[in-house]
């Protein structure tokens, strides 16, 4: 690969990185030929054009915190394209509740800017402090707040996308309502960079709530976590998050019981009343009540629960089936090396039907791969039979290769394949390709 072609496009020192440490920008121990840091949309367009001409496999990235996430391990990556240097907040109009920013802005940087206007972007994805907004949108990454505020797709008003074949598409706008033409913007969220590089975003903002309160409940035999969360969910009020935390998560020192954390973001006048409604609904007292900064910090700790995990899985289901799924995690316990005494950890956003499963100490004996593969595929089959899905977000390379990040796409495979060809006709962005196709796509006019 001739990196001089890249240096002609990116003249500033440090924009083309060829020699880096073994762990930097690592893709399962291997590294791309180069990591590039464009400063402008024009540079992104030029890089993708050169990549197309030379058939270089290219991986869009932010700060590289989830570089191996959902990766197709069968293909080598020639080039990592990081938008982390495109990190300016361009326009913030508090009166119109929107902000326009370059996609390399981190969520932490954005929230700090918004705070002075008493506004915020209600997203709390894993790794929130260092994640870039482009990566958060591309991976549709979200945490507990998705219950009350929705996923990244619900906050994006507009975006600039440079497609795999180097076209610049301006999508959406700056207003909340916008139905001018087909909503291509929705395709960006959860695309994992497969449709192009997001360079700019317009995000919808919300007023910063006056009060932030978390009620932490302890589960027991009479009130098992999923049952408790289910009861809380039926409180006659809008709750911003309801999370079930396995032993070993959330508290310091780590708890030995399953906890249920409910976050209330309201006006000062309303927060007590919402709490009263919850307590009336569940008829037990919380173990702990946290207000303001303490409440915020509690959830911030949850952002990073997966940073030392060997395996991270996202399971989706109907909210009413979260408890069944948690029970099924027992079948994965034998995959854990008994080091910290907690076994499988999980974090469930129960009203959204999302269960994040963490294996911190994956057993690595001689049969680990066979056993892990068998257990995860069995779980995936069970989840899919109940109408849900299992995504292997992060795992050792051999396990990803065996299990694949995503399960069967069933009847929508053709649509997925067709959309990929629209945005990336030569397939240079296919490092996170979805499962192999059964068909070659439809014949188009």
């Amino acid at each position: 690969m001739d990196t001089n072609l890249l240096k002609q496009i990116l003249p500033v020192e440090g924009q083309v990185l060829e020699n880096f440490g073994e762990t930097d920008w690592s893709l399962f121990g291997r590294q791309a030929h180069a990591v590039v840091f464009p400063h402008s949309e024009e540079e992104v367009t030029s890089i993708l054009s050169v990549a197309n001409e030379n058939n270089w496999n290219c991986m869009p990235a932010g700060n590289g915190t989830w570089l191996e996430g959902c990766m197709n391990t069968d293909r080598d990556v020639n080039l990592v394209l990081s938008i982390s240097k495109m990190n300016n907040i361009l326009v913030h109009e508090p009166d119109n509740l929107f902000v326009e920013l370059e996609a390399g802005v981190t969520l932490e940087q954005l929230q700090a800017t918004l705070r002075s206007s008493k506004q915020w972007l209600p997203l709390d994805p894993p790794g929130a402090n260092s994640s870039t907004m482009g990566a958060i949108v591309a991976t549709s990454s979200c945490g507990a707040l998705q219950t009350g505020f929705g996923k990244p797709r619900d906050h994006v008003l507009g975006a600039t996308l440079i497609t795999g074949d180097g076209k610049t598409l301006e999508l959406g706008g700056k207003t909340v309502k916008n139905v001018a033409g087909f909503d291509l913007l929705k395709l960006l969220s959860g695309s994992w960079g497969r449709f192009g590089v997001i360079t700019k975003l317009v995000m919808r903002l919300h007023p910063l709530p006056e009060a932030d309160r978390t009620l932490l409940f302890s589960s027991n035999q009479q009130h098992p976590g999923p049952r408790l969360a289910h009861d809380i969910m039926h409180t006659p009020a809008m709750l911003q998050s309801i999370s079930i935390l396995s032993p070993g998560l959330g508290e310091e020192p780590e708890s030995k019981d399953t906890r249920v954390a409910v976050r209330i973001l309201e006006s000062e006048a309303a927060v007590d009343q919402v709490e009263a409604l919850i307590l009336e609904q569940v008829k037990i007292s919380p173990l702990k009540k946290m207000d303001g900064l303490e409440s915020k910090k509690f959830f911030e700790r949850l952002h990073n629960v997966d940073e030392n995990s060997d395996v991270v899985i996202r399971v989706t289901s109907l909210p009413s089936e979260v408890g069944i799924l948690i029970d099924q995690l027992e079948d994965l316990q034998h995959l854990v090396a008994e080091k910290d005494g907690f076994g499988i950890k999980f974090l469930a956003h129960s009203e959204s039907g999302v269960l994040i499963v963490l294996i911190d100490n994956l057993k690595r004996d001689e049969n680990w791969l066979i056993q892990s593969t068998k257990a995860l595929l069995k779980l995936r089959t069970s989840v899919e039979n109940h109408g849900g899905g299992l995504t292997l977000l992060h795992a050792p390379e051999d396990l990803i290769r065996a299990v694949k990040p995503w399960g069967s796409l069933s009847e929508v495979e053709t649509l997925f394949s067709g959309l990929e060809k629209v945005f990336d006709p030569t397939g240079i962005l296919s490092q996170r390709e979805l499962p192999k196709r059964k068909t070659e796509g439809r014949q188009c006019l």
């Binding site: 598409l169 706008g173 700056k174 909340v176 033409g181 809008m238 009203e351 499962p435």
Partner: protein
């Protein structure tokens, strides 16, 4: 006019029943336009299936015969999206009107596309739940139509538009293939096919089952009506309320011309007829929080120059305040034979200047333009009153509409907030989309509809 071939009519009747294939000219009259009556065209036929399987079989038959199809809900759309040319067949959803499932445990409902929007909330009410998107036509419009148009409504300021509430779809493609997209907790792969289908205006396929998210009914609702001498002052009140961090469920402005039309009609809401603007402010949520919010909003309205601020004390009063807003379009029938309900959005802070420019455009073309709109999210509805039989006036309406769109786009807005592009606005698409964007949209349509048999001639300009 072309007529439906006899053998095709027979085969269609075999699928849906002999009463549900309409091809007589008289019976097609009701389908010659949607809510935008400026464009009229009778379809080749209308077919009214009852199930997904029937839709699939009908589509297979029509696509094999190379006949294009136009899905249609209640026909309340305002962009000509359900307009069919004489060679196309309309597939109506009026018989697909069953609420298939109400699932309070998971706060969702699964409905057929012909279910009327308001009926979902009515059915969910005993469970303490409701469906949030509330287009002004919610007592008549269908969920299928809402999905096609990604409909909004007054309460979308706080709760968001249709796409936020549609979690899964069963669709039928032009070739008759039945596909299931999304579904609550049913993440397969990661591309948001539901998201891109919602708002596709019947051009990708037809939704035959819709899974929607329901919300808990708010404990309390408080509604205010503020009266202003100047519409700009009402706009300032909106800016102040939002700038202080309040998030009302709805913020709606009704101008003087609309007030007088409503008050002269059976929909009278008790607004003072000498006012030049009325602002409806609604808060919902937990009772204890509302009182403080309401007081802050009253203060903002008074500071902006409100001459009077009323608070609805009872549910009946609240309904009456909303009646004036929601029935405004109907009331205008008293003052003109025809009405063009325009739809555009601008950033909220630009509302006062854009309203002034719209007023100037009306004066310049000697047209009556009344404004009633979702001020909180900058979604304008300039209503142009005219007489369709006057060809010169019709031409002025088209010119004025184009100018209004250009003004909104120049202010950082767009050509449609919630009514869709349909047939009416496809020529405006280049104002907000580049050629590459429109070509990409066409390619994405082609992925869903390779033979371009779904709702032809809509959304994108023909030369794309």
């Amino acid at each position: 006019m072309e007529s439906l071939p006899k053998n095709l009519a027979r085969d269609l009747k075999d699928i849906v029943g002999s009463n549900w294939v309409l091809s007589d000219r008289d019976r097609l009259l009701a389908y010659e336009s949607d809510g935008l009556t400026a464009y009229r065209s009778k379809p080749l036929a209308v077919v009214l299936p009852e199930t997904t399987d029937q839709v699939s079989r009908v589509f297979k038959l029509l696509s094999r015969n190379n006949i294009k199809v136009v899905p249609r809900g209640a026909g309340t759309g305002l962009s000509g999206g359900a307009l069919a040319d004489p060679t196309a067949v309309i597939i109506g959803t009026s018989k697909m009107n069953t609420i298939i499932k109400l699932d309070p445990d998971n706060r969702r409902a699964v409905v057929q596309p012909g279910v009327i929007n308001a009926h979902v909330s009515e059915a969910a009410a005993p469970l303490g739940l409701y469906y949030a998107p509330d287009p002004s036509s919610q007592s008549a419009c269908t969920i299928g139509g809402n999905v096609a148009e990604n409909s909004g409504g007054p309460h979308c300021l706080k709760y968001g538009v249709t796409s936020r509430y549609v979690t899964g779809l069963t669709i039928v493609t032009y070739e008759g293939e039945i596909l299931r997209l999304g579904g609550l907790g049913r993440e397969r792969g990661s591309y948001d096919l539901v998201g891109v289908f919602v708002g596709s205006e019947g051009c990708f396929g037809m939704a035959t089952e819709v899974e929607v998210k329901l919300l808990p009914k708010p404990e309390s609702v408080r509604t205010l009506l503020a009266i202003f001498d100047r519409i700009e002052d009402a706009g300032k009140a909106v800016t102040s309320i939002m700038a202080r961090g309040l998030l009302p469920a709805a913020l709606e402005i009704i101008d003087g011309a609309t007030i007088r039309a409503v008050e002269a009609s059976v929909f009278a809401g008790g607004y003072p007829v000498d006012a030049n603007a009325a602002l409806v402010v609604e808060f919902d949520g937990i009772e204890k929080g509302l009182g403080a919010d309401v007081q802050k909003a009253i203060s903002d309205c008074k500071k902006a120059g409100a001459t009077e601020v009323r608070s609805a004390a009872t549910s009946e009063e609240r309904q009456k305040l909303w009646q004036g807003r929601k029935k405004a379009f109907g009331a205008m029938g008293r003052i003109a034979t025809d009405l063009l309900v325009q739809d555009a959005t601008v950033p909220r802070s630009r509302l006062p200047e854009v309203l002034m420019k719209i007023s100037e455009i009306g004066e310049r073309y000697d047209l009556n333009i009344a404004n009633v709109f979702h001020a909180g999210d900058g979604n304008l509805h300039p209503n142009i009153l005219f007489d369709r039989s006057d060809s010169q006036e019709l031409q002025k309406v088209e010119l004025a509409s184009t100018e209004i769109m250009k003004v909104c786009v120049a202010a950082g807005g767009t050509i449609t907030g919630e009514h869709g592009v349909g047939h009416d606005k496809k020529s405006y698409m280049p104002l907000v989309c580049g050629v590459d964007e429109m070509k990409t949209m066409k390619k994405v349509k082609t992925v869903f509809d390779p033979y371009h048999g779904m709702n032809p001639g809509k959304v994108l300009p023909t030369d794309i």
